[in-house]
Amino acid sequence: MFTSLERIIRSGWITFKKQAGFTVATIFIMVITISLITSLFLFQKITKFSISLLQDKVDVSVYFKDTSLEQDILEIKEQIAKIPEVKSVEYVSNEEAKKRLLEKYPELTESLRETQGMLNLASLNIKAGQADQYAAVANFLENAPFKNLIQKTDYYQRKSVIEKIFSITFAINRTGIVLSLILAIIAFLVAFNQVRLAISNSKEEIFIQRLVGASNWFIRGPFLIQGVISGFFAALITLLIFIPLVYSLSPKMEVFFPGLNLFSYFINNFFLIILIQILTGIGVGVISSIIAIRKYLKV
């Protein structure tokens, strides 16, 4: 058995070297496939980052009456933070609220700000994970024992905006997943076709091998080995392309997505990315070979 295995591996390696033209073309197509998969991996990071940026803009503000004590507000903050739907709660004191308003609207006087309905009251800014969770939070506040301390909640004013934003981010996420799947399937089909072409070039050899009594695995084996070797080299080449590419693109991405350091993400997930690339390359090579050769083995 080991003799046969050794012969299969040797045959696969020798054929890999001998069929230079097909090998180069196959590796090239695999590099494109692996590059696409790697790009999708990085793209999902960008998508998640954009979604969290958008969702981070969404919050519900609870404004407390002028007479409310800071200590009471902070206790309420603790209570709200314990609600499972709540992601985070930020306390904004009177002074902080005034400071933020002044920074935002420096040209308006204080009385004008009040008549325009701008509140510089102490508040709690509450962020939740999903659009429908804000409703649960609003409901809690309406029925809370401390509701007499609350001047106003802006949830109902912003409800439609909140729902729109979450709807958009959900659509972005779902579209990203569907697009990724479609592109991954296309990439696999292109790579499969290339491998199939290379194998069909060997169909006479396969026929002869069957005639002399080679078992299906003895015939199949060298093609799988070639698939593994091609996949491995393709993964290596893709990695060598992506390292400088991501490094150079990362600062440009940060212009559009402030706070997103793509190269840092790439380095932090380096071994995972290598694993994905190698598994994709070898997986495509092996699976394509198995499927493509079935026709000639008459199984």
Partner: protein
């Protein structure tokens, strides 16, 4: 040893390759299948190699119905049979030595066995000095001798030769037929499909004549009759 029992092979309603063919071949026989192109000679050999399945009838090899053998076990049947073809069917990317050795590699022979047997069989076919050459560097006659060496090296019970001299000149044709005869004298059954009149008439062996998929003659010391 080999038994064709009421074999028919129909490719479509209009193409009947074999029609109710029955015959037996004993061990160590030298049998020629003759007939014009399209008579069904190659189809008979393909059925014996289980490359095709009969539409009707059964084929027995060593008392085993070959078309009841599982697909995964067919390689073991084919290792008992050596095959030689008109177009040689050598592996282009392998040398003469490697082409012959391949037949032993697939059965799991050790490197020592391969080295010994391949050298021996190349000696038999008279090509010891061309072992390093690729098929493209060999003449037609040399290629056919390598094909015979490959068919012979794993000591099969039967050698099927489908028009082995079809692409060869008369000198090489004679060499190949002499080689097949000497292999037969060593105990291997030979089934030779040919439409070469001179070869058949010189052999003086059993001849099964096919026409339009039917056996029209089966003679122990047959001749090629038009």
């Amino acid at each position: 040893m080999i038994k064709f029992q009421k074999i028919s092979k129909i490719y479509s309603p209009n193409i009947v390759a074999l029609d109710d063919v029955s015959f037996e071949i004993q061990p160590k026989e030298f049998v020629s299948l003759v007939g014009k192109s399209g008579a069904g000679k190659t189809t008979l050999l393909e059925l014996l190699l289980a490359e095709e399945e009969p539409t009707q009838g059964r084929i027995f090899f060593d008392n085993q119905d070959i078309h009841k053998i599982k697909k995964s076990k067919l390689p073991f049947l084919r290792r008992k049979i050596g095959a030689v073809f008109q177009d040689y069917k050598l592996l282009r990317s392998k040398t003469a030595y490697e082409n012959v050795a391949y037949a032993l590699e697939v059965i799991g022979a050790t490197d020592e066995e391969i080295s010994r047997d391949v050298s021996e069989v190349l000696e038999i076919v008279g090509l010891s000095e061309r072992f390093r050459n690729f098929p493209v560097e060999l003449s037609g006659g040399e290629k056919q001798r390598i094909a015979i060496a490959r068919a012979l090296v794993h000591r099969p019970e039967v050698i099927l030769a489908d028009e082995p001299t079809g692409n060869l000149d008369p000198y090489n044709t004679a060499d190949i037929i002499r080689l097949l005869l000497s292999i037969n004298e060593l105990g291997t059954t030979i089934i030779l499909a040919t439409h070469n009149k001179e070869v058949i008439n010189k052999l003086g062996k059993r001849v099964i004549t096919l026409e339009d998929g039917k056996i029209i003659r089966d003679e122990e010391k047959g001749r090629f009759i038009l």
